[in-house]
Symmetry: C2
Subunit: 394 residues, 2 copies
Amino acid sequence: MIAVIGLGKAGLPLAATIADNGFNVTGVDIDEERCKMINSGSNPIPEESGLDDLISRHGGKKLFATPRYEDAKDCNLFIIIVPLYIDSGHDPDFTIIESAFRSIGKILKRGDIVVLETTVPPTTTENLGKKWLEEESGLRLGDFFLAYSPERIMTGYSISRLREFPKIIGGVDEESGKRAYEIYRMFIPNLFLVSNAKTAEFIKVIEGCYRDINVALANELLKIAEELGVDFYEARQYANHEYCHIHLPSTGVGGHCIPVYPWFLINEMEKRERYGKAKLLRTAREINDDMVNYWAEKILMECMKIDMPLNQVKICIKGITFRESVKELYNSRNFVLAKILMEKGMNVGVYDEMFSAEEIEDLGLLWRLPEEAEVIFDPFALKNVVRSGKTRIE
Amino acid sequence: MIAVIGLGKAGLPLAATIADNGFNVTGVDIDEERCKMINSGSNPIPEESGLDDLISRHGGKKLFATPRYEDAKDCNLFIIIVPLYIDSGHDPDFTIIESAFRSIGKILKRGDIVVLETTVPPTTTENLGKKWLEEESGLRLGDFFLAYSPERIMTGYSISRLREFPKIIGGVDEESGKRAYEIYRMFIPNLFLVSNAKTAEFIKVIEGCYRDINVALANELLKIAEELGVDFYEARQYANHEYCHIHLPSTGVGGHCIPVYPWFLINEMEKRERYGKAKLLRTAREINDDMVNYWAEKILMECMKIDMPLNQVKICIKGITFRESVKELYNSRNFVLAKILMEKGMNVGVYDEMFSAEEIEDLGLLWRLPEEAEVIFDPFALKNVVRSGKTRIE
């Protein structure tokens, strides 16, 4: 029997996939309503392709969801896939992960295997995870086994990713790696065993760093192209080929993943007084975070073309989420952009087809239809639209 | 008739390819011996795949090489593909390009087309090239036509690149773009017309920036992996997939291209007092240039393991060129690494199978066989090898 701790966007597709491979799965999640829903065969994440089918077939049968760890006490493999947040100093807040490890520790038996899937700073599994389990269980590593295997899901495509995309796993010691690999292989067809847990942790983090750096490069080149009077998008189209992958510019990088992971390495290097060893990662973070100021200035410049007092020009930010078509505001730079314009005293409203007027207002923002604005900014097209008719005549 | 100015590594394959498409080509190069060689049908760049055949078939016939611009006076298309160097302040030295433009200007006729292929800072063609041609010819743009089409060769594969790889061209005005595109199409099958010359210039430069940034990322991640006790190469292997292209680390970035191009943009932004708009490019350059100090320290640490006074340990740097298997020292960071170790008072020698002992010594370095050294550093494998037997017993 296999336990999956955390039935969120990453955990539920994994739990369902394991159940679909013939295993009995106990899914543990603090959300009692969500558990009931799953056990009745209905899918709480309908946007996840293929998940409806898996939940309707296995929910309440091979996949039993519960808010109680005790219900998982007969399991021999425990997979932790819960969120990790970072605080305002970019340090990870381990509260949820620690709680999951300690709760497992309380029911851990000799021979059990624990695998962490949440993206964490390298060495978390071998240092913290091991300690938490040992403290609660009274057992020692070797009595139980501990490994790390990063989730590599992509919202909407998680199930096909689990079936096809290469996945890696590494143990905190050799025996842990081997045992975790052998059991994971039974439900992950494309699995690779790496040297150790911290290598697997590092692999996940550097994928995010690659993205962040390359988005920062796109943002920097966009600004330089503008200075030179060159159309960045045209240039990008012809620059990209087999050996060149210039990314798309943006209002910054949001969400739980990419803007968070570089800090794992930056903070670790700073703790070790190796500040200079992460300066590219830090510069990229600064560039991406600063893009909201760049776009705020661009929007202001557009407003100045309208023949009325600047703070009366009605602006509409058309899109408030961190990514297009995902109703999620965590680290959303588009939300920050709206706030910045408000703080500048501009008359800024927000429209997002995924949010009601009330939801927008609950966020402390003004709701406004695009057709009621003089200047519209679409963060997903990176376009300013200035309404004609009111344009200042110069 | 078509003139190609510059018969070097980029120019000669282009001239030969044009001749092979049935055109009469006049190749202009200051090197008289090289011209004679080409006209006798023998290839001065034997490492260039397929060039032997083209030169033996067309040299002295369809491809006539000459040191005199007057011999090209009946041509209607002039292609400039000469080197551009940068000075110690990272500013381009336009001497050679200016001389080529002015020499063409002296023989330029109404209706002629001039195309620059050398990689240059964006706006060079529209600002400098146009001015030089107008000053010398007495004609005005519109009487003649001017465009830019960056070379995208790769030493060894230039001819297949010209036949297959996408190539772009852009005019300093619309008519120039159209006319240059129409004639280039006759010998470049995979050709794209872009909005203008500066877009084409920008495209070439940002390809180099992408490479430089991503090598800097690899170098930074290598250092962080080392701090964490993770094998970077193993991590890279599993991190890379369809959406992730982490590059290889190195002793820095050498040669005429990649380390030079980012400065075109950095310097331009600084001239405009837009320093902050190129800070990622600048940070990447600094990281890559600093790698020689990182490796020098690593080599020193290896030397300390040998039981003899530090400055007596015989070091061998096995490889001195900027790239493996290319006998070229321009911007070679491996050469700089050897010099740094010398300046530190270390007993450093150099071995490179492409150089004789005399050639190494003419460079102010000590020649040494790897088997005579206690510590060997291979910059192309990024490996320190410490000879056993003399290892300090601790």
